[in-house]
Amino acid sequence: MAQQVRPDEISRILRESLEQFETEIDVYDAGSVLQVGDGIARVHGLQNVMAAELLEFPGDVLGMALNLEEDNVGAVLFGDSAHVKEGDPVKRANRIVEVPVGEALLGRVVNPLGRPLDGKGPIETDLYLPVERKAPGIIDRQPVREPMQTGLKIVDGTTPVGRGQRELIIGDRQIGKTAICVDAIINQKESGVRCVYVAIGQKGSTVAKLVKALEDRGAMEYTTVISATASEPAPILWLAPYSGCAIAEYFRDNGMHSLVIYDDLTKHAWAYREMSLNLRRPAGREAYPGDVFYLHSRLLERAAKMSDEKGAGSMTALPIIETQEEDVTTYIPTNVWSITDGQIIMEPGLFYGGVRPAVNVGLSVSRLMGNAQTDAMKQVSGPLRAELARFREIQSFAQFGSEQLDASTQEQLRRGEQLTELLKQNQFEPLPHWKQLLSIFAGRQGLCDDIPTDEIRAFETAMHDHFEEHETGLVERIETGEKLSDEELDQIAAAIENCKKGFQAVAA
């Protein structure tokens, strides 16, 4: 197994490496550390340093100049501040903080500085992009027009996400926020959308589990994971989403499509608060610094659908916000809420009631709606959101007893239960567009009304199998995404009826 070590080979490599070396005098700008601690350093000198410039501290610790003051520079350290002492020399690197980008990063797990964490060797790329970049201007953009299929019926049907959109996912801990995103990544296998998952302040074990889940489903091939776990210093956590954004931007700017997930921005805001307070920046509401809105707005503005002249690439962002006790009216959630183009709201009540994904359809919104769906899906799922929202309303007062309700309300209740059942979906099982469309169509047309609620999901699977085997023509027709004619809808309905007969015969 171990390769034989050939001494002449080693000396050849060493000789070649040394040939790159030139004995010349190094000229660089340097300052000295005045004070260090809490992941930040104050540096004397460095008169000409740029904002956000990379600094080199002794012991291979990197830093970034942030506060440029009259007689000193405040810098954050991207490493262990225990290695840095007062009086240490600080070198200017003469470049802005940047990360490696490009295809070489797909399939890799890296830290926010682009260094590999997965033991798969160095990242071989000559492409670098600055971590902080300006968002594309108005002329470089165009309206969102293609869907970014998440593979989840409830999302693609009621709050669709378009390529280039920013859709907030918000909810309490442990109710499936990340699960939605992971399913969205897995669903990009055929779509060619490159994915970047940024883990901010999570447990190392959680990130490892997620990487394993993606690997098992072959989703790591087109995915980069940026990991800044809870044990990293605050500046690393703060940097993570910007590096993830830069990696995704490379695809956007080269005519490709990318999806970036920030999990989660609550912890990102905490990290920035910690860093800012240590830098002695004035504290504002909840001790966040004054520019905490700009912190997230400039990040999310970089998601865009580029104009045709710019290659028509796109970058979709799914920021995640974790709430406490379902309170969405606190500072950071309202900030991010107002920046994004819609939100998917998750509720523990639904989650523990067995409705998974636990999306509250009434409050969730996608401001792009129709532009982010195929024409066929738009046609079939049109009023689904409103119907479900009405159902939830009726349901809440029907708890007191439904016998006194009039027939049409009872009908609505029954239909709502069927639809809710149909929109449930297991984790790691994203559905292709045609399967989603069939399920929603069957539910909305009342084609499953005579099937008991607890058998609906079995019927759904049977229906999908039936179409896959016997109705390939219709499946192909739906997959084009174009608007369906009345005859085609009749054909689909007839096929579903047909399948239902078989299903009921087996069940009986």
Binding site: I13, S17, L18, I25, D26, Y28, G31
Partner: protein
């Protein structure tokens, strides 16, 4: 913090006043002497910093310390400094004033650290080379540090000219540990 805004303002005022009296060039010697005395004498520093000692006593002490031939403005300045209770800033003010003098005269100071002692000729050559590189007359302050192994480093302002063996070995280490060469 050593360099306070006050120190800068006082130093600037001193130079401005000296320039009007045409005595700026004679200011350097007494200021340098005073700086050296302060650096070498901790009792003097404590004496000046002690708020229990009357300002008049401090003024008297400084009067004796300053050279006879110093321009009168230097003494007047020190008296004012103590009157304003800024004696703690004295060191910073002196440093800042000397720096501003250098700037006005177009002189740069270079902190040179070498592994082995430099000969007169080497120093002159280094000074010439730095003068050429910086574009201003450069005066060397030489120190020794054997940990550089061989060669020297020179620091002018923020810019470091590093020709030490230590740094070159460090660079070799980086090149050899670079993954791309494997």
């Amino acid at each position: 913090m050593k360099h306070t805004r006050a120190a800068r303002a006082y130093a600037k005022a001193l130079l401005h006043a000296a320039k009007q009296e045409q005595s700026a060039s004679q200011l350097r010697q007494p200021l340098e002497n005073l700086q050296r005395t302060l650096e070498s004498s901790e009792p003097l520093r404590n004496f000046l910093a002690n708020p229990m000692i009357a300002p008049s006593a401090k003024q008297e002490a400084l009067r004796r310390l300053v050279d006879e031939e110093a321009p009168p403005i230097a003494l007047a300045f020190l008296t004012l400094l103590i009157e304003r209770k800024r004696e703690r800033e004295l060191e910073a003010v002196l440093e800042e004033a000397l720096r501003q003098l250098d700037e006005a005269e177009g002189v740069e100071r270079a902190e040179v650290v070498s592994a082995a002692p430099l000969t007169e000729r080497q120093q002159a050559a280094l000074s010439d080379a730095l003068t050429k590189a910086v574009g201003r007359r450069t005066i060397l302050n030489v120190a020794r540090d054997p940990s550089l192994i061989a060669g020297f480093t020179a620091r002018v302002g923020d810019t470091v000219y590093d020709g030490s063996l230590r740094t070159q070995l460090e660079r070799i280490r980086k090149i050899l540990s670079q993954p791309s060469s494997a």
